[in-house]
Symmetry: C2
Amino acid sequence: MKENNKQGKEQEILAAAEQEFLSKGYEGARTTSIAKAAGVTHAMLHYYFRTKESLFERIVDEKFRLMLQSMLAVIGDPSLPVVERLKSGISAHFDFVAQNSKLPLFVINEVLSRPERYAMLQNKMKNLATDLFSGLQQDIDNAAERGEIVHIDVRMLLMSIVSLNIFAIVTFPFMRPLIGELGEERERFLSQRKAENIETILHRIKR
Amino acid sequence: MKENNKQGKEQEILAAAEQEFLSKGYEGARTTSIAKAAGVTHAMLHYYFRTKESLFERIVDEKFRLMLQSMLAVIGDPSLPVVERLKSGISAHFDFVAQNSKLPLFVINEVLSRPERYAMLQNKMKNLATDLFSGLQQDIDNAAERGEIVHIDVRMLLMSIVSLNIFAIVTFPFMRPLIGELGEERERFLSQRKAENIETILHRIKR
DNA sequence: TTTGCGACCAACAAGATTGTTAAATAAATT
DNA sequence: AATTTATTTAACAATCTTGTTGGTCGCAAA
């Protein structure tokens, strides 16, 4: 029942910290609570990670990376035709967010409450934008030239996609009754909402 | 410079509390900080509002009401034809959120971190849904029968609208660079994004 | 064996934060 | 004016929270 290998405890603490920070944010999180959840004295927590702040950094760095990585999923497979590419991209992004439902709000909250992080996030975003988005933009432009779809700025389109996906999953807990009978079970609702989001984006580019 | 009428101080405290709670949330807010911002000793804060919690309730009640009220704006003017009605509804909702940009995140965070509020919010939402949405749904159904637009569940449509509007404004601070040159000034970006959101929704129902 | 070193814990320290209270002051009521 | 009531203040209390410290335990290298 006891885990007393040296690295084991560090991992336990990290796992507990992730839980705590993701669900309560930096301010709401308590190092004692993290320690308890990890099955360690709170002195141990300070032994492995000097301060609450440094422990938080560890979590936040990983989560920011994960968040950006998820944006990449939207780009989809360049070998597919544009419409298929978008379909699978939206679907992949939706699934990712559904399985990491606390991630978006965590990132948004922590970056908004720490303007000193703006620069970092903005840089990474800019890289994403210039490097990855341009390929999809080309695909879109070409398809538009062929008259298959409508002209549109890929950044606007991607923003719509992440808006629709993230918002649906974040607000699911209290949107459920608004949807009424449709929202009996989480899975059912999510799959319907995913289909609706795909539909919305495809309509947007339909000729 | 001093406001020493009795009711004045209470209002000062409420105003300061609103600022503090909206930007830092319940956990991040400090009663001493609120008191200082209001120009009162922190004992005064406890004199007027017994506890931090009760002060918070005052703010949260008002903000929840405001939030739901803003959803109503989306319904729009029933005397307009459906497409016009949606256009003005989306625009009104977008403007409201833009002028209350801290509201959505505040409400989402506080309701999610307090499941005991789920029931309350869910009830109010259900009322909105049954009472107000049905009118718009009728309009949509009729227009769809006439072949002007496509059939769609109004709840899905409204969820898309609030997703697009809220997300755009909440994430504006760090989405700006992703948009690049487009996002030089806030006003410019917001008006472009508003237009894009309207476009997206209209495409969704276009035949 | 003993020396050293990392993991570990109980207790403590310092400061922040919410909340109380007793007394002073102002305002209103009789 | 006298009495009550509301407002205000300063000081304190209780608790929580982060962080430290001195010392213990086990184990491996010398």
